[in-house]
Symmetry: D2
Subunit: 328 residues, 4 copies
Amino acid sequence: MLRIAQFGAGRIGAIHADNVARRPDVELAYVVDVNAEAAAALAARHGAQVSDVATALADKSVGAVIIASSTDTHADLIEAAARAGKAVFCEKPVDLSIARCDQCLATVKATGVAVAMGFNRRYDPTFRSLRERLVAGEIGRLEILSITSRDPAPPPVSYIKVSGGLFRDMMIHDFDMARWLLGEEPVEIYAAAAVNVDPAIGEAGDVDTATVSMKTASGKLAIINNSRRATYGYDQRVEAFGSKGMLQAGNHTATQVVHAGANGVSSDKPLDFFLQRYVAAYQAELDDFVNMVIEGREPLATVADGRAALLLADAALTSLREGRAVRL
Amino acid sequence: MLRIAQFGAGRIGAIHADNVARRPDVELAYVVDVNAEAAAALAARHGAQVSDVATALADKSVGAVIIASSTDTHADLIEAAARAGKAVFCEKPVDLSIARCDQCLATVKATGVAVAMGFNRRYDPTFRSLRERLVAGEIGRLEILSITSRDPAPPPVSYIKVSGGLFRDMMIHDFDMARWLLGEEPVEIYAAAAVNVDPAIGEAGDVDTATVSMKTASGKLAIINNSRRATYGYDQRVEAFGSKGMLQAGNHTATQVVHAGANGVSSDKPLDFFLQRYVAAYQAELDDFVNMVIEGREPLATVADGRAALLLADAALTSLREGRAVRL
Amino acid sequence: MLRIAQFGAGRIGAIHADNVARRPDVELAYVVDVNAEAAAALAARHGAQVSDVATALADKSVGAVIIASSTDTHADLIEAAARAGKAVFCEKPVDLSIARCDQCLATVKATGVAVAMGFNRRYDPTFRSLRERLVAGEIGRLEILSITSRDPAPPPVSYIKVSGGLFRDMMIHDFDMARWLLGEEPVEIYAAAAVNVDPAIGEAGDVDTATVSMKTASGKLAIINNSRRATYGYDQRVEAFGSKGMLQAGNHTATQVVHAGANGVSSDKPLDFFLQRYVAAYQAELDDFVNMVIEGREPLATVADGRAALLLADAALTSLREGRAVRL
Amino acid sequence: MLRIAQFGAGRIGAIHADNVARRPDVELAYVVDVNAEAAAALAARHGAQVSDVATALADKSVGAVIIASSTDTHADLIEAAARAGKAVFCEKPVDLSIARCDQCLATVKATGVAVAMGFNRRYDPTFRSLRERLVAGEIGRLEILSITSRDPAPPPVSYIKVSGGLFRDMMIHDFDMARWLLGEEPVEIYAAAAVNVDPAIGEAGDVDTATVSMKTASGKLAIINNSRRATYGYDQRVEAFGSKGMLQAGNHTATQVVHAGANGVSSDKPLDFFLQRYVAAYQAELDDFVNMVIEGREPLATVADGRAALLLADAALTSLREGRAVRL
């Protein structure tokens, strides 16, 4: 029985806790959150104890921790858990600063502990299948990668102000997808962006619409486009074009009902947002983490992956601010 | 806390038990099965007791039973459970004989107990949405209903011999769907059928390919087609055509990946079989049953619905044997 | 240069004349129509002469005739043209009476002249491709054939009164498709029908909604459904299910534009009606007829095919009137 | 009767001549080509005279010219025809040099003659419908435009050497589409490219895979991706994302047949190349030109449009060569 301590009892934390509860071989031991009420509710639902970081990490019977607290606590908690010898699952990002990432990475390496980063899209059945088929050679060599990622609606401006901005908060997922699918690091990046959705986002110093163009040393090209608002739902698509063909990953819908009427033929719009679209991904992600701990396997996404995605986000921001392409 | 006794620990029984386990407000109290090993395994997985029918039904703390044992035990168990005052969920069919159905129906009525029949397709998100939109008037008045239902591969001939035949074992689901969607009883039925898949099925006195045509008093027409073998997976579609348009319910797939290559553009085939296609339906079905018990609501499908579907199956068989349309 | 005399200058006649004009190796010599104005207009557009049947057939330089006049003239014109040694292209049907068909067939046989019947759907690129792939074995042996054929709106009741009824006027196309795809004659047929669209159609002694079920000696099953009114356009689909898979022929649309918005994802409805859907079919049909004459090939659809489809229509009508399955 | 002189009797010239022949109100008077054989064949097919530029332009009865000769003759012929007072339809591009474009534009302006540039995609039913719906406000304000344009196979290297390169020869169509749909000029452009398809293309100084990112003053973003080789056919898609939704223009296929089998569900790949995909566009383009001449309307695409697209192509090339974003 693997005993887990969970830091963070918010929306994502609750999902991870529920997925832990689905497994007969794992037990939620502790829930830690600055919000005492949220911690108590989640702990009660799964028969866990409300606790604090020190107590949870000091418990020898705890084998792993899940970090789903606010971004500014991630690096500290990863380090503390790693030093306590616990396997770690941490929501992205490691930190908004590359320097802090580097530090954290060094600590983790020194402890030899396995740390899995929660890049949930790698576990989505559709994207996972696309990658497996890409790796299996179904389209030959990848030549153009195109990622579309649009949220249904922007978060509150208060969140945007502490988020690190669109590139580090939202496109970070697409940078991770791009790296995962390209199988090679970009060497040049260019970003264009605008405030199209809400002037308040611009006033907060951020953008809400962006495109990024990247190139690898071997000549693979990647383009990403983001918007903070899509009226038709959560738009999450990937297109991989290669020497032998193309693989496209499309959106998911709630039903397969089609209506034909005088105004045309219509079907469901994409699922609302990540909580709906990535239900299966969150389950697979947690299962993979547990299996990683039990079987001593490598995580699918590491702290180094988190750092590499952040590097691209920072470079995109530099490109945008200085109006030029950035070499990496 | 609703305590449940489950009769039958086979494949479908295990699904229901797992769905019971997902709910914090329900507890699996007893598992009963002639196969002691299966009963023990399922009971162990969910912390239930292995027991026998009499003991389980005598326990006053048990509020409901799930019947997922073999078809020939359904009517007896429904009656016993109803007499014991337990709410009942029973897999289709009630029985293969209309006379026995009638008897069972009378017993149930006398006890006043709620009995829900497991017509799982009524709970499928896609079919459910089609019906809601039909009822909401999106296609005006229904005029032509077309149901396609094809299994990936035939069951063993040993099963076919005791199944009651294609109409009572397989098309019974489509008869239920037809009744549910037509909102009106058919008054005429005609069946055509053949042995196209496996001669052994014909030797067992059954058919493996069939079409049925039905008509209601108000002039709604329905056609159903069945095959025991579809190389491309479990084919489950419904098309409702009406005065203002059409609603189509399509197949579900594992991913939304599309491949384009020199040989064409291809996507996933439909999910394998009912265990894959109806995962969400089985969950919704169990939830609906539990809510029915807790809230004292009517079941979505009743013993009378089970009887009515069987009546259509019997009439189809008569039509086939006598080579004529049958009035109902 | 093949010189052609055309009988009938109406809507379909104009299409054939235009398709004749597209070919440099064919010349429209005569146009004959009881409507002098229509004949004059069409003749003028293509530099042909307005004439009468006798004159046109007496012209030795005329190698072929196109019959696109009213149904009641078809058999007479086929016979006259055949006796004059002209190759014939005739719109369906040969006649509404089987006896007259038989007579006509005998006359044609005696003359040895090639007569092609205008079953336009056989030339539609989509249906043609489906049949080629069926014949090529892509789905193994055909087991269930399903044809959906719905007009956007009913014709005037005045037309319905002389049309021969839904089975002989509308479903006749589907009977031809069924025979063409089944590769085998049906041995049993059952029809169900209703008046759902317009009571005036019922008062004229006809139906406007119908389903037909057929069976061949080897066990192939076919179902057809027709409606005189589909709000979403001209619905023309075929589904062929076989031992190795399924082939589906879908509707055609004017564009490939898809819109995603708050209310769902929508695309074009099917093309309006046969003049839009079968543009390519009419061209291919005319080309095939001309090539048949020039190369001395067999027509794709013969008078015998026209007769066989009518036989099914008559049997469907008998089934409907007598409320029973009809053996053929 | 509008009499037309055509310069160029190659593949595209033949298409235009055929589309001229389809109209009863237009007559092909002259065919001019340095290849005497091609000129003679095309002239013969349509009853035109083989001639030379001077003679054709001197004929007062000629009202319009079609220029479909090699790129290096376009500007000269436009100017000569404009001076002779003939309306002009010219295949893209005006010229590969902006300076020559400017000169030509000045000459045309001075004569007051209408010159239509052959940006065929503007006439494609699918793209045209997308633009009309965009202009009609179906997606609110356009925010992200994404264009995918991939040829099935690269042209011979000999052609590539004189083509002006991928940006001026191939992506020029996409630059025109982008300008047409954005309704606003880009102010910044960045290009990334590679030689992925054939090293010989690189040796000829060109690239075969490219992405371009553009931005307008009001904050609209556009991304374009090109490849000289797509194994699955001619890939021509546009996606317009806006404040109220999304419009996507998909590929066209030869049939609507879908096959379902053990390996998945497959449909037709896109049509082969521009001759197949843009059949309807070429017809509409010629009709539009003729109507423009007859009715004295403005051309849909002008010499100024040709120049503006070339400007973007040149800027993309500069961006690629200097590894930086270019301001416009």
